[in-house]
């Protein structure tokens, strides 16, 4: 940060919520830069965010700037650059910064309040001092993921969320390459370092987190990895068909045709009484005479082609190493136990296709939700002592779209009811516009890492818990690793730079050594 004694500009216009100030023509103002207007009359320090920067000049004649540019361009074309200097450019030209007023610090610097009054006109605008931003630390929770960013500069103010915010659902919105995987790993590290206060169930469809998260010094104590493929340091992911419900199957196959959906009903009706859960998939997958089964057992109520599709899918599910007909080999209980202990549970689903990944995710999410719900109903005090958990789901629009929002789908249920039971969602998506707006409004915290599509940005504007209306350009121009954090706990959409994973790893303090168990004082007992 530059010294506050250096004046960056003078405030001259706009209203309570917006400000416009004039700056020197060479002041390198950045979108998203945080600046302070010092109101000498009241002692308040108003915090502003730059939302646009334009050129200004003293001259009143229309076309003055174009004419100057034309003269200079003409010099360039004639290869005589400098033939026409612009005298006193620093006086005649300037920059105009349009700002959003974020609020003000009371004269004692202790309280940050929303803007409700105008700073004195022509107040001096300076770069913020550390004390101007100290209030932010109080709302940045105990899971730090980055540092405050002002324009392109970072400030040593930690940015993060409260672990309790996990239950109020978090949206992570970014196009490819903007750093969402990095953010998820940093968030997972923060959860590990919370030492049992929070649990995360991360469904990783690409297997990209396994190796990296395992390198974290807290991983040995606080990370459990279940993998659908054999990998060192991981437990085999095995879930039982009998544990899973037809709702999980429907959620996973949510994008199926109406004919397939009806065929599934028929199959369930036929098998339901004999098989728990969806373990009927096994006998169905083993059928040789699909035509005869359809004609005789299903009474030709299902088209053969539809049945063949479902049969192929059932065979694939049943052949997966991660799926077992044997309920005894399921790791669901172990996963639930890990989460109860406040661990980060990583499900490496890289060996599964999208449907299978969702099947496992739906089952585990349902299991966690029901367990936490039951605990809430059984013993409120015991429930209060349980860690807050969140399910991290990539490409979340698959299960959170309007079309997917059905009674059978556990994810909308978590979004609507999970908060009470301390179960939340961390929905990661590149396309928030595909998420049901009603569900999106349940998400109290947004990490926005850069969205190119205007429709995506607009849907977030409508659902965010902080005003994003003036931040369109800033969101468009976010660089990888830069984000806006907007939540009910943040005083405004906080610009941040997410820690690079390698830096977070380097800076992570290992967990304290367990206290040695004192030897029993047998002599004392004898005495």
């Amino acid at each position: 940060m530059t010294s506050s004694t250096h004046t960056r500009g003078r405030l001259y216009g706009k209203n309570v919520l917006e400000g416009t100030f004039r700056a020197a023509p060479d002041d390198d103002l950045f979108l998203g830069e945080l600046l302070v207007a010092i109101d000498e009359a009241t002692g308040r320090r108003y915090l502003f965010r730059v939302v646009d920067v334009t050129y200004g000049h003293e001259h009143r004649e229309p076309g003055w700037a174009e004419r100057v540019a034309g003269t200079l361009l003409g010099d360039d074309v004639r290869d005589t650059p400098g033939a026409h200097p612009l005298y006193e450019q620093e006086r005649r030209t300037y920059r105009v910064a349009d700002c959003r007023c974020l609020g003000y610090l009371t004269p004692d610097g202790q309280v940050f309040r929303k803007p409700k009054s105008l700073p004195t006109q022509f107040s001096r605008v300076v770069s913020p001092e550390a004390a101007d931003l100290a209030f932010l630390e109080r709302s940045m929770g105990d899971m730090h993921v980055g540092v405050l960013r002002t324009g392109e500069t970072t400030v040593n103010v930690p940015v993060g969320i409260s672990g309790d915010a996990l239950a109020k659902h978090i949206g992570v919105f970014a196009t490819t390459g903007m750093g969402k995987s990095n953010l998820m790993m940093v968030l997972a590290a923060a959860a590990m370092q919370a030492n049992g206060r929070y649990g995360l169930l991360i469904i990783d469809p690409h297997g990209e987190y396994r190796t990296e998260l395992a390198r974290h010094p807290w991983a040995e104590r606080r990370l459990r990895t279940y993998s659908s493929v054999k990998a060192p340091g991981t437990s085999a992911l095995r879930v039982s068909l009998g544990e899973m419900t037809s709702d999980d199957l429907r959620t996973a196959t949510g994008d199926t045709s109406r004919a397939q959906t009806e065929a599934l009903f028929e199959l369930e009706r036929f098998y339901a009484s004999q098989y728990p859960g969806i373990s009927w998939l096994l006998p169905f997958s083993q059928l040789d005479d699909l035509v005869g089964f359809r004609d005789v057992d299903l009474g030709r109520s299902v088209a053969l082609s539809t049945l063949q599709v479902l049969h192929r899918r059932a065979r694939r599910i049943c052949n997966l190493d991660a799926i077992s007909a044997d309920g005894d080999v399921s790791v669901a209980s172990a996963i639930e136990r890990d989460l109860r202990e406040g661990k980060v549970v990583l499900i490496d689903a890289s060996g599964l296709d999208s449907t299978e990944e969702l099947l496992v995710a739906s089952f585990l999410t349902r299991r966690v939700l029901e367990a936490w719900q039951q605990a809430f109903l059984d013993d409120r005090d015991a429930h209060a002592g349980m860690p807050t958990v969140a399910v991290v789901l990539e490409e979340a629009q698959r299960v959170l779209s309007k079309a997917a929002d059905a009674d059978v789908n556990v994810f909308p249920r978590v979004a609507r009811e999970g908060r009470k039971f301390k179960v939340g969602l961390v929905a990661v998506t590149q396309q928030p516009k595909l998420v049901d707006p009603e569900l999106l409004s349940q998400f109290n915290t947004f990490f926005i890492l850069g969205l190119a599509d205007e429709r995506d940005r607009n849907i977030l504007k409508g659902s965010a818990k902080q005003d994003l209306s003036s931040l369109n350009t800033e969101i468009q121009t976010l660089m990888p690793g830069e984000c806006l954090l907007a939540g009910v706990d943040t005083p405004f959409a906080v610009p941040a730079t997410i820690h690079l994973w390698r830096d977070a790893l380097r800076a992570a303090v290992p967990p304290p050594e367990p206290r040695p168990v004192a030897a029993a004082n047998v002599a004392a007992m004898l005495d």
Binding site: W64, R67, L72, H84, P85, Y87, E88, R92
Partner: protein, 330 residues
Amino acid sequence: MPLGAAPLDDVADRLAAILAGPSGVVADGDDGDLIIDGDLTPRLLTPAATPASEVWAIDGGQALVRDARCLQVYVVRAGRCCFVDRVATVEDEGELRAHLVGTGQRGIELARVDGGLHLPANTAVDINLLRERVEWDGIERTLGEASPGALVLVDGDLRPDPRLPLAWVTELLADATDRGITVVGVTKHTSLSRGGAPLIGQLEREADVSLGARSRWWAPIGHSDARSQVPFTVVAARLDPDAAYSFRLDIAIGVDPEVAIAQVACVSDDAAFPGYPYPLTVADRLAACPPWLREEAWMTLEEQLRMAGIPGDVLHRAFDDRHRSMERAS
């Protein structure tokens, strides 16, 4: 007596005849005693290799604060600036001087502007005199402050209002020349004509043909009649290849016109106004009396008049802009 017809067609025909060709007598409608003895031939102008050590500029500004027709309140001032190596070292808006002009005010105002000039008691006082007086006062102060080798630019010609003592101005310019100070007046829009058509525009066209469209040039036009006027030389000049216009330049006598113009060209390269001396644009800005200044002056006056017991309605009846009010009414 019935009026004769005056159709636009007739004006167009006469204008066409005047503007058609560069021929006829050269004259200055505003300065009848200008002696036209220059050859009027544009010749190449080379800017001085180095600009003058100091470049001063002076311009006058005025505003009519209120007008009761029989009485007017004016403010005038002279803005001055000085540039050294293209950096402004002096920016002086000048003292804002207020004047009450009209019936019964001449004696008082004359005394206020005399300043040792011994103006005749019957000198008419109007805004032109007030402005010229403050401008030449600014020039006098500037010449007192300027160092030898300085260039002093004046907005407009070097012909003072005839009510100002010729000897005073002549002496000012002569002293300046003696001290090695070059005084040049720059007139943006001159009444110089040839055959009734604007002369400068004709010279621009001729120079385009003879010297090229992007040439700097100057052309001798004439000089003032020293018997009845401040002595100065008059030239036309295009001061930059990108200049949109050429100007009339009045150069105090005793200075080589070509050298003086070359110095002016040195500070006429601003990217925003190529061909016009940049310091003069600054002086113009400093001297300007914008509407807010006019209103501020009136509010101050109004306050003092109220304190003196003048009822508001008396002020309104005296100074309301009736034309504007009636325009609004229509």
